[in-house]
Amino acid sequence: MIPLTIFTTVLVIISFIIDRKKTIKGIQKGLKQFFKILPTLLSVIIIISIVLFFVSDKFLMEYLGKEAGLGAYVSAAAIGSVSLLPGFVAYPLAGILVQSGVSYSVIAVFITTLMMVGILTIPIEARYFGLKTTIIRNALSFIGAITVGTVMAFIYYLT
């Protein structure tokens, strides 16, 4: 995150030196877009915060754990598609799950759906792409994520 901020600051300064007016116009344009989408972002992160309250580590362990069998894959795909977690939370969590006996292949399904499919962020995506395109993209990504998870599961099973 810090590199991106430094990079942006440097760019803004250079841009400002070259053309003051253009720079201000650009920043205004960008921030205007930000404030336009902000209410949707806020309401989506509110919903995600509430959903995540019910998806605790213990809950995940129960549904993704050793005893869950094939159901673990289904749960992993379902939970992964609905939730949205920043990487710095998702990976440590996945690490804990692996250490407590959840298999790598279940984690693969969980991580890929978590990243590629975002059911709760559909309201944001639809603002840009329209609802239909958004739903098709998420459905395709879901199939894609399941495919990746299955191939990974197969490789882990073989090795």
Binding site: T8, I27, L31, L84, I124, T133
Partner: protein, 177 residues
Amino acid sequence: MKAFLKKHKFDFPIILVFVLFIGSSFYFNYNPGKQIFEDNFWMFFKEMLIILPVIFILIGLFDVWIPKEQIQKHIGEASGIKGMFLVMLLAFVQAGPLYAAFPVAYLLWKKGCSPVNIFIYISAFTTAKIPMLTFEIGFLGLKFSLLRILITIPVFILIGIIMGRYFKRNNCKISEG
């Protein structure tokens, strides 16, 4: 203003109810409410406020400085494999949550990037951002990360091609948000 309120007709009620809920949770010491706010909401809120303004400023600068012809030439309709490679590279070096990719997609589209490349960009963004890879390797190991990325890349190129075709055939548009 009216159009703005109408566009967010679901958002403002949700925000209002949440503010009231969290306010009263703290007032009455209701633990689940406090936990939702402190453990979850605050984390997302911080991430949003730290990353998004920076990304939107970059988008704004990009918008005024980079001419459309440049984008069209490098990642437009006729850019082929090279174009795909460039958008993937652009996605890999970025940071931030999935919803940070959509405004960038809008900008790219406005500047003449091909639909296929836009969807490859979005999928690549979700899959393999370099800043996040260090985390993944640290917690799940190099083998896991490498396997996942190698298997995912062909899958998301395919998704990009299918989505791009659908997008063009239906004359879809990307709006400003």
